[in-house]
């Protein structure tokens, strides 16, 4: 359903009403903005030395700040990329195991998945970094972050994959089985490839979640973007300005990723006719890129 069926096209009177109230709200909004600006000015937040190191290429610290931020962004992206790749592999294995498992030990897998879904990511990361070394596993900080993120996201991805496979029409499995394929072949040759295609948008939006979650690396002193912002603030004493910049960076990167997800989804749904099962399209819960299992911070 498109939203336009919710209301009639506005007539001249309601158009005028909308325009007037919009203008009124706009003026109100501007007034609040000015008030906020004045308050910030009073706290000296517009002082040049708070902004110049971030935005004025001529400032002596400009290059240092951006080198640090550049490194940090690379660190953030590296951790996110590794975590997504590992989660994808482990998540798929978990999903396959859960689909293929006999009743006798399926409960074990389900319990494992539910357990890991219930623990905050920040604790997973903390856990990986504090407990693994006590067990004699010595790794660079990056890997503790990746392990923590993977532990959480692989079970989320396992659920996405399972939903993807379950959303395929029954006929696919039946046709493959009637050709005499073994169960492993049915999965790996017929079901998973189709499921993955449908899942791609959901997976990309999970990447957004992982990217944001790398900011929890601050808890184990991994030099990702938010923590580096902290180090810059210790030196420049301008938290509001630096965090504003970090927010803009994250919003831009993640927004680009979300757009990519939508683009990929459009491309994919052009390629095939939407498969209809029981009156519903089988393009996955991913018809809205944000819904499945996301919301991790």
């Amino acid at each position: 359903m498109t939203t336009s069926v919710l209301y009639d096209a506005p007539g001249p009177r309601s158009k005028r009403r909308v325009l007037i109230s919009s203008l009124f709200a706009g003026v109100l909004f501007l007034a609040v903005l000015v008030l906020v600006g004045l308050r910030l000015e009073k706290q000296d937040q517009f002082a040049g030395d708070k902004w110049a190191p971030l935005f004025d290429p001529g400032h002596r610290r400009f290059q240092q700040v951006w080198t640090l931020l550049g490194d940090a962004l690379v660190n953030t992206l590296t951790a996110a990329a590794l975590a997504v790749v590992f989660s994808l592999i482990i998540g798929t294995l978990l999903a396959v195991a859960r689909i293929a498992a006999g009743k006798s030990y399926r409960w074990l897998l389900v319990g494992f998945i539910e357990l890991f879904r219930g623990i905050p990511v920040v604790i997973m990361i903390f856990f990986a970094a504090r407990v693994l070394p006590e067990l004699g596993v010595d790794l660079p900080t990056l890997w503790f972050l990746v392990i923590g993120l993977t532990a959480y996201n692989s079970v989320v991805i396992a659920e996405i994959v399972r939903a993807g496979v379950n959303s395929l029409p029954k006929g696919q499995r039946e046709a493959a089985e009637s050709l005499g394929m073994r169960r492993s072949q049915v999965l790996s040759l017929v079901l998973l490839p189709q499921a993955f295609r449908a899942m791609l948008p959901a997976l990309i939006s999970q990447l957004v979640v992982v990217l944001k979650d790398t900011s929890l690396g601050f808890i184990i002193s991994y030099d990702e973007t938010v923590r580096t912002a902290g180090i810059i603030i210790q030196n420049l004493k301008n938290p509001i300005q630096v965090y504003l910049l970090v927010a803009v960076i994250f919003i831009l990167v993640n927004y680009a990723l979300s757009r990519l997800a939508i683009y990929v989804e459009r491309r994919l749904s052009q390629g095939k006719k939407a498969v209809v099962v029981d009156g519903e399209t089988a393009t996955l819960p991913a018809n809205d890129v944000t819904t499945p299992g996301t919301g991790g911070g």
Binding site: Q64, T67, G70, D71, L73, V74, P133, I233, Q234
Partner: protein, 294 residues
């Protein structure tokens, strides 16, 4: 295919960025202590091992102005850092061969136990609980927990006045000062953040009325405040800062203590203070009486 092109572009950009980072030069702020090139140590000791390796990994803090602070250019500054450089120099290791490792309060014992660092100089208060897991050399400085308030605040004259003023007090999560202040304020009036600079922001905007931690850390915040804050100057605890080493490494501990004594005698201890914390608290402290190593 277009996607692949995009990814190649992204990777190239990332490489360019990281290479730009490598190319940056590293200039030290203060003159480094003279390196003891003739150092000679009994075989099998930690000192001999480090000297042969030619490098040492030292744990310190990165967010403690005046004591251990990571600068934007990647160098470390502060009194802790200077003390660590003195010890490294005595081992025959120049300052540029030191590998710094960030050790926030919560990981200090673990990184020592696991051998991730050779020693820790990080505003590290000596206490019995910690001695169960590691050994301390020093103390090289004795701080005391104090309060910082706004310059125009005359109501808060010491920890006892906090309750009467119904003051909100700020400190850092999981730190010793945060635990100790609990006997003076209601838990509801205790505000905790991850770094002290956030406490300073909260004090400035009037969200809290006092910040508590070791006096030297507060001095660093006061120096940055354009005299908006002041120290109450009624220290109510003793915080002897020690240098954490692996438990039972008596020889290394004694070596560090000897280094501290020598540094106090030849003036390099006072110089380390003057170059760092001395900018805010000009009177160089005397080296406290060193504890016996165990």
């Amino acid at each position: 295919m277009r996607l692949r092109g995009l990814m190649v572009g992204a990777v190239t950009a990332a490489l360019a960025l990281s290479m730009a980072a490598c190319g940056e030069s590293n200039d030290a702020g203060t003159a480094n202590p003279p390196v003891n090139t003739q150092a000679n140590f009994e075989a099998g000791t930690t000192m001999a091992k480090l000297k042969d390796a030619g490098t040492v990994t030292i744990g310190t803090k990165v967010d403690q102005p005046l004591f251990g602070l990571k600068e934007l250019d990647g160098t470390y500054t502060g009194f802790d850092v200077e003390i660590a450089k003195l010890i490294a120099a005595k081992l025959g290791i120049p300052a540029d061969k030191i590998k710094w490792e960030e050790t926030p309060s919560k990981v200090r014992e673990e990184v020592i136990e696991q051998g991730k660092v050779d020693f820790v100089v990080a505003t590290y208060t000596i206490n019995d609980k910690r001695k169960e897991r590691i050994s301390f050399a020093g103390p090289y400085y004795e701080a005391g927990q104090d309060l910082m308030v706004k310059s125009d605040d005359s109501a808060i004259t010491g920890p006892e006045a906090l309750k009467a003023a119904n003051a909100k007090v700020c400190s850092v999560t999981g730190s010793t000062p945060a635990e100790k202040i609990k006997q003076y304020v209601d838990p509801a009036n205790l505000v905790l953040f991850d770094v002290y600079s956030k406490c300073a922001d909260a004090l400035r905007t009037g969200q809290v009325q006092a910040v508590t931690t070791d006096n030297v850390i507060l001095l660093g915040l006061i120096a940055d405040s354009n005299s908006a804050f002041k120290l109450v100057n009624k220290p109510f605890t003793k915080e002897p800062y020690g240098i954490g080493v692996k438990k039972g490494d008596v020889k290394f501990c004694e070596f560090i203590n000897q280094t501290l004594k020598d540094a106090a005698a030849d003036g390099s201890y006072a110089k380390a203070w003057k170059d760092t914390a001395g900018k805010v608290a000009p009177d160089a402290p005397a080296l406290p009486t060193l504890a016996a190593c165990s």
